[in-house]
Structure formats: C-alpha cells, structure tokens
C-alpha cells in the first residue's frame, strides 16, 4: 500500500466511530418495527457512545457527542439539549466504570450498560415529562432500552474487532 493510501486508511479507521455516530443521528436510524400493537426500536447511539467511551475514549470527543445530541434533538423533535444531556450522562457513567474496572469482562459490561441506559432513560423521561410535558410513553423507552441491551454483546464483538484495527493502524 502507498504511504498516502495508508494514511487515508488509518484516518478512516480512526474516524469511523464518529462517522457512524453522525450517520445515525442525522438519519434517525433506529430499525423500529411494530409488533403486537407495540412499537419497538433500537438505540444504536447509546451503544456506540457507551462502548467507545468505555473501551477507547480517544475515538469519540465529548464535544462531538454534545453536537450529535443537538442534531438528534432537531431530527427527533425533542427539546434541544435533552439528548446532549443523555449522551453526556452516559459518557460520565462509562468513564466512571472505566476508572473503577480492574478486569474488563463482556458480561459485566453488558450488565453495566443495562443499568446505565436505565439511569439515562429515567433522566430523559423525567426531563421530558416533568419540565416540558412532552408526550412520551415510558413503555416505549423501556422496550427500546431492553432491546438495545440485548444486542450489546453482538455489537461489542463487532466493535472489538474495530478497536483492534485502530490499535493495529496506530502501531503500523
């Protein structure tokens, strides 16, 4: 591979989490589906933020996460600033877990991810309903949290490969 190609490849691999994050918030992609009179969806943004802040904090800047939250609010018609608070709170929890964890384990990550999104969703629900009287169903938030949590191991596996690619590209 030429030097310029290698540089482009390294930069692409490094910025991939940011690109995925912005693609998700700008398109509002959530794979939502309707089943048994209920709406279900996944929150891929939570997955990406939690995973990368926990495993590779340099891959995602907090400023960029804040901006992604603003974009998400505009696209989803939430009061502007709510998603930023949620995302940053998730970052804080992930950073806290990172500083306390001695032996990383996918099972612990999974449980802690579930607890984290429960906290974040509760804060989200409180802000939306108590301050803005925004019509939102708690059941939808919860089902989204559970579904998102269920696919965490799968995403963790995929993103772990990506982190290995980043490390490899940095050491090349």
């Amino acid at each position: 591979m030429k030097k310029a190609d290698t540089k482009f490849y390294i930069n692409f691999i490094r910025t991939l989490p940011i690109l995925i994050l912005y693609l998700l918030v700008l398109t509002g992609f959530d794979l939502s589906f309707f089943l048994y009179d209920n709406n279900f969806s996944f929150n891929f943004v939570y997955l990406i933020i939690f995973f990368f802040v926990l495993k590779n904090p340099n891959a995602l800047g907090y400023g960029l996460i804040f901006l992604a939250g603003i974009i998400n609010d505009v696209v989803q018609n939430f009061p502007i600033g709510v998603s930023s608070i949620n995302y940053l709170l998730l970052c804080a929890i992930a950073a806290f877990i990172r500083s306390r964890m001695i032996l990383p384990n996918i099972f612990y990550d999974w449980i802690l991810f579930f607890i984290s999104i429960l906290i974040v969703n509760s804060v989200n629900y409180l802000i939306l309903t108590m301050i803005f009287e925004f019509p939102i169903k708690y059941g939808i938030l919860m089902s989204s949290a559970i579904l998102t949590c269920l696919i965490y191991p799968l995403f963790s596996k995929v993103f772990n490969e990506k982190i290995l690619l980043i490390l490899r590209s940095e050491n090349d």
Binding site: F29, N39, F66, S84, S99
Partner: protein, 280 residues
C-alpha cells in the same frame, strides 16, 4: 479506615469522570453538561432572536440530514418500485375484476359537486372545502416509536402555518406542527399524539381519529355508544377544529374483533411529495 479509602476512591473516580479531559478531548464532561443545560433552558424562549436562531439551525440540520439520508431513500424507493413491478399483474387483474366505470362515476361526482355548490349558495353556507394548496417535497422521513413525522421543504417564508392540513393524492396525511424559515414538520396521522376530528359517512357520525403508532390503521375515539358505523364506511376530516380543512378523505372503516379501526388510504411508507393547505 478501609471504608474511608473506598469512599475516597469513589469520589476520585466521579471527579475524574466529570472533570478530567482525555488526551484528545477539548472540553470536560462537566463543562459540556452545563452547556447542554444552558441550551435546554433556551427552549423557554418561543419568540425573538433565540427562536430565529433555532429556526435557522433546524433548517441547516434538516438539509444536512436530507443529504445524508439520500442514499437510503434511494434504496428504499427502488425497493418499493420493485415491489410495485412484482405486484403489477396482480393489481391489473384486481382492477379488471372490479369493472370500474370511471367515466360515468366522474360525471356523477361532478353533478353532485355542482348540485352541492348550488344548494349551499341557496342557504348562504360557506364552503368548507379548501383548494388553496402548495406542493412540497419531503426532505426527511422520520418514523421512530416516539414520533412519526416528515420534514417538508417549505416553511413560513412560503406561507405555511402551524395546524395546516397536509394531503397526499387528496388523502389526509397529517398536520403541520413546527414551522421554520425553509422547512416544516408534519405530524403524521399515524403518530401516537395525533388526534383529528373526523366525520364518518354515511350517517354523519362525529369522532376523533387517534393514531396508535401503526402505519396502516388508527383508532376511533369518542364514538357515540349506540352508532351505526359499518365495515367500509368512509372517514373524512370534519374540520370542526377550524384548522384542518373539512372533507379530506382519511380512510375506510374496518372492524377487527369488535374494534372499529380506520384503514388509511395513504401509504405512509411511500410519501415523496405532499400538498399543504395554505390558510388565509
């Protein structure tokens, strides 16, 4: 002693999570959280320069979102096109079986329209039908469990106002809920928070059509306890809220397990262009 050390570690961890900046971070989490709370507090201002800036920001983000979504929209359109091609023979066969006499139906419709107009003129009744529409393109199709809406490429610069009704091929789609300079948000009739006054014909029964998150049907609320709503009855907007135009066809009644539901005429997954009623 050990408890105190543990508590100290805990506090240090929290402090480092909120205040420490990484090697590539420009801001600490605490600073950005404060910034988020400040931005959120700006929601209090619904008019003035803050609202102007918010409106411009939304316009820019919607355009950006439109560009990013375009490859996905292209794939989605091609998928539906392929589906239409596959179903073409079946549709043709169904139409042939129906033996539609379109021309005679059209003439009959025209006759009733003119008769209705004459009779309304006789009793000095104001026509509730509105023909003042502006055609707009759908920029972004946002259908999450929290919100079913579309973003259109016309805003208050083009005379769009909050509450205006939006139609697709003369069928009701939704109403405008947020207007910016160059874009607006349409709350679809399928959204959980969508409530529209409707009239069921024949019989002239009034009710409220409430979205349930399903893209194909919605529920009827506040129906009279004793009613004669049957399978196949047509639901129109009643216009009694004074904002949504009257007589826009919404859907057809179908009864499922004694529950009266309305099957929409519009296919909400394939909306590319819509017409917005320009209110005077």
């Amino acid at each position: 002693m050990a408890t105190e050390t543990g508590r100290d570690d805990f506090i240090i961890s929290i402090r480092s999570a909120f205040l420490n900046k990484g090697t590539r971070q420009k801001f600490s989490l605490f600073t950005l959280l404060l910034a988020s709370i400040f931005v959120l507090s700006l929601e209090y201002f619904k008019t003035g320069p803050v609202d102007q800036i918010r409106s411009i920001t939304k316009d820019i983000i919607f355009r950006g979102s439109n560009i990013f979504s375009s490859p996905f929209v292209f794939i989605k359109d091609k998928y539906y096109l392929l589906q239409d091609h596959i179903k073409m023979y079946e549709d043709y066969d169904n139409l042939k079986k129906k033996k539609l006499k379109l021309e005679s139906l059209e003439n009959e419709n025209q006759f009733f329209k003119e008769e209705n107009y004459r009779l309304k003129k006789l009793i000095n009744e104001k026509s509730l039908l509105s023909e003042n529409y502006v055609i707009t393109k759908v920029l972004l199709d946002q259908k999450s469990p929290y919100l079913k809406s579309v973003i259109i490429n016309k805003g208050f610069k083009h005379g769009i106002k909050n509450g205006s009704s939006v139609v697709d091929n003369s069928y009701y789609v939704g109403k405008i809920v947020d207007v910016n300079h160059l874009s607006s948000r349409v709350l679809l009739a399928t959204d959980l928070n969508s409530k529209i006054p409707v009239i069921i014909e024949p019989g002239g029964i009034n009710a409220i059509l409430s979205g349930n998150g399903n893209d194909f049907n919605a529920e009827l609320e506040y129906l009279p306890i004793i009613n004669e709503v049957k399978d196949g009855d047509i639901v129109y907007t009643s216009g009694i809220d004074g904002k949504i135009s009257a007589a826009i066809p919404v859907g057809k009644i179908f009864i499922n397990k004694d529950k009266k539901l309305v099957k929409f005429f519009t296919n909400f997954s394939q909306i590319n262009f819509v017409k917005v009623n320009k209110q005077k």
